[in-house]
Subunit: 308 residues, 2 copies
Amino acid sequence: DFVEDIIPEGHIAHYDLNKLHSTKDAMKLKEHVLIATPMQTFHDAYWSNLLKMSYPRSLLELGFIIPRTPTGDETLKKLEAAVKNVQTGKVEDRFAKITILRQDSQSFDKLGEKERHSLAVQKERRSAMALARNELLFSSIGPSTSWVLWLDADIVETPATVIQDMTNHNKPVLAANVYQRFFDKEKNENSIRPYDFNNWAESEKGLEIAKNMNEDEIIVEGYAEIATYRPLMAHFYDKAGKIDALMALDGVGGGCTLVKAEVHRDGAMFPNFPFYHLIETEGFAKMAKRLNYEIFGLPNYLVYHIEE
Amino acid sequence: DFVEDIIPEGHIAHYDLNKLHSTKDAMKLKEHVLIATPMQTFHDAYWSNLLKMSYPRSLLELGFIIPRTPTGDETLKKLEAAVKNVQTGKVEDRFAKITILRQDSQSFDKLGEKERHSLAVQKERRSAMALARNELLFSSIGPSTSWVLWLDADIVETPATVIQDMTNHNKPVLAANVYQRFFDKEKNENSIRPYDFNNWAESEKGLEIAKNMNEDEIIVEGYAEIATYRPLMAHFYDKAGKIDALMALDGVGGGCTLVKAEVHRDGAMFPNFPFYHLIETEGFAKMAKRLNYEIFGLPNYLVYHIEE
Ligand SMILES: Nc1nc2c(ncn2[C@@H]2O[C@H](COP(=O)(O)OP(=O)(O)O)[C@@H](O)[C@H]2O)c(=O)[nH]1
Ligand SMILES: Nc1nc2c(ncn2[C@@H]2O[C@H](COP(=O)(O)OP(=O)(O)O)[C@@H](O)[C@H]2O)c(=O)[nH]1
Ligand SMILES: [Mn+2]
Ligand SMILES: [Mn+2]
């Protein structure tokens, strides 16, 4: 897939995109995966989970984008220290490439989980997130990237084989089910609950709502104020079900979503403007569909969002 | 704008997109420009025009994408030879970086000027061109690219200062006026005529046509079959006018169009699906507008398309 530079001193790089593959045998075929993470806060648990992943680091590229806010300054320091630690360690333990970007577009400083989830703040916040994701994507995807794993900075627990498992499904876009661990005070025990409601299948009601909206209105999923009756993947988790069960989706979140690089290269990005009344990761899903790609989710494949 | 790798041996690159600028003093401020060219045929005249450009080559990145067709094979050979010639020459004459991509998506083999301009073939051909442009864009734009000059492979004549001149206008998207030299048999003299009709301003009629179209229909400009009465920049050339006259546009072609890299990084790409009933470069213009960027053209600034 990567044809060695014909004249290295002249900075010429040849790539045959036609021979660049993303297959179900990603690891065996040495396919490069870019892990793309917009990072407002550096969580140790994110980093240690990343380091536990068993996909060979020589095939992993990391891309981070950090907001230009005081919180971002802190985050950058911590990320740099963590990165330095790995990349100056044993050669075989290093990642193939790490890109750290400081955001150009508007960023929001840290909001609490409640605040940032209020419906009023969604359009602005998610528009800003869309731009951050696009900046990261355009600046870190390379000509030898086969897959992009969108992994939020507050995903603190995944199976170590998450990349092998997800690539093995060989889908253009595939979302894991993002849950959250918490302590259930009523039952007095540790428990889990659904976290990300952006993974959904379209509904009649959702289409009807969209149809009656003004051009610039958006639907954001997971709010009682807009009852779409869309089947949400978060609710389809079946503890007794097969871990590799698939569910067709129309919208995705960015928590832990694997994308074939060709989907992005064909043009699928994160609209910050209403695209079929959807923005950011949900708009991306719609755009991928317009580019004739299918989207799936793994309802029984859980990854965990931090509890704040 | 480019912070030196903190640990070069670890392949870490830091970029502060916030400090990456695209200004009217591009050359003085050493801003990197990516010249992006989808190339079906290698024309010597394109190459010699490129070599005549006076923007410093140390600030120029070149990106090419070549179709996977027999014509493409020929083109690749010629391009490689030309590139090798420059990049093994004097160090100060070399381009900063050259990326040559072989296309993954569908390509059309060479069609004659008449054939490829027939309305029937437009949707399919321009959809394919959109994917090619996206593949090229996503794989060659780097974190230190300030501007992207879309320059078609059959643009054989521009002023040598084209990059300085166009960046100096400091516009998010700016299209030169693409003309064609020809021999006027009636008058028995050399003459010029408009070539690219994709640079246009929206019209009432155009909006009305779009409004009455099915979701998946597209308008391609420059066809008598669809009379949009849109003001076409090609018709606004005024020989006696100022060379730096500006005209607000809503659609652009890809012949010779300069784009601030941040417009692309925010997500503006070339839709291969109808986006407000527009595709490819015209769809790109609409997307840039949705991202709140303004689009202009230079009616009196001529560049020339080859005559076949
Ligand atoms: N670069 C950047 N990243 C952000 C910004 N806001 C949030 N993030 C990151 O984007 C991801 C999603 O944001 P988050 O606030 O966790 O969204 P939620 O979990 O859906 O409520 C996380 O990885 C955050 O660290 C921002 O303004 N800029
Ligand atoms: N990569 C690629 N480039 C192409 C293909 N078809 C045309 N081109 C190039 O795309 C640009 C525009 O195409 P062209 O046929 O000249 O369009 P026109 O001048 O608008 O009729 C030129 O630079 C062509 O060399 C294709 O299938 N793949
Ligand atoms: Mn989160
Ligand atoms: Mn042409």
